[in-house]
Symmetry: C2
Subunit: 220 residues, 2 copies
């Protein structure tokens, strides 16, 4: 994989946070954007967006009020960085849209092909063998259990907030994250190429959690 935009990488690196959303994740999303891109895409817009999409994660993670949105703040920070490096408005504005719209819960939905590809690439990095690794890294970081036998329906009933979002629980676990959130990822993808990659990765993740369950139950 060839990494362009050296000076922007440097600026991004300074801003990136934990191991699940850090520089390694950004590199993989950058690579996935290259894989997903058709020929008529604006490469600068797409790859600069990939590079800068998570630069406000740290602020969101460290904020206790729940009001910092890394997509909104990230777009503002990206604008500043790109202006400083001499990029033109015609690149900066669509980059800002990509970053604001990459978050699934964002009010702004992806409208351009570049924004759709970034959103897809970010979601693909949450599934497959990479997704498994990232889920357990976060579980270790936050002291979650390795596995929880919880009935999905009961869990949802007990933990839904008024707006239908599942609350963050200290008693979370990767298999719950998979059941409650990651299984829906294929329905949230925009591009056909991403859907093909997701199909294979979802199948792998499904098999992994079955196997984990079997090993824990003593059947493997």
């Amino acid at each position: 994989m060839i990494l362009k935009y050296n000076n922007i990488w440097k600026a991004a690196k300074k801003e990136l946070s934990d191991s699940a959303h850090g520089i390694d994740h950004t590199k993989r999303v950058y690579g996935l954007c290259q894989r997903l891109a058709p020929e008529d895409v604006d490469t600068d817009v797409l790859l600069l967006s990939a590079l800068l999409h998570d630069i406000a994660r740290k602020e969101e993670d460290e904020d206790d009020t729940g009001r910092v949105d890394h997509a909104v703040l990230g777009a503002k920070k990206a604008e500043k960085i790109l202006e400083e490096k001499g990029y033109e408005k015609q690149t900066i504005e669509p980059v800002k849209h990509c970053i604001r719209a990459h978050r699934f819960r964002s009010n702004e939905k992806p409208e351009t092909i570049e924004a759709k590809i970034l959103s897809d690439a970010d979601k693909l990095d949450a599934v497959g063998a990479v997704g498994i690794a990232r889920m357990f890294m976060l579980a270790g970081q936050f002291g979650e259990r390795i596995y929880r036998e919880v009935d999905k329906e009961t869990y949802l009933e007990e933990n839904l907030t008024d707006n239908g979002r599942v609350m963050k629980l200290s008693e979370h676990s990767p298999n719950l994250e998979y059941e409650l959130k990651l299984k829906d990822i294929p329905d949230r993808l925009y591009t056909e190429r991403a859907k093909r990659i997701a199909e294979d990765r979802m199948k792998y993740m499904e098999d992994y959690f079955s196997r984990l369950n079997e090993e824990i139950a003593g059947d493997r």
Copy 2:
């Protein structure tokens, strides 16, 4: 799985540490010991050992001098707990041997069938889908990278200590742990039943790391 020895579980629970060596690991090792045990085993010795084998992990982890050995200290703590609960010397002494000998780097090697089974069960819990989960949880806890492309030979040359042990590096990663340490687990097993389970689990882990590598390289 039926859990016996209620009062000992309670005592053990208080002593157990992080998520990779905590109560969930102890329960799985207890279950594996039941699976591996032939009929003529001393069940009390085996299961009490399983239950208490990691009760001094916290002390080893929190010790900066590198002189606390959780196997040696664990055996002493187990003796105290079992004496308090009224167990006889003929149970306590073989339990202490099991706990002292369960650690691979221990000077005391497993001599009884119960000690061999505990050692095998503990190692089986480090491989397969469970092993993958535990490795990444530890990686998250200690801020390791998700993956490191490092040549095994070079890594060993650079990081071997005088006694041939691989040093703990802050720049460690699960795939390195797998290459340098976990691949040797089948050679360290004592019982035939454990070797059969390990064969299947090692194959799964090998496939997982190949796949992880492929996804990161952009081939999946």
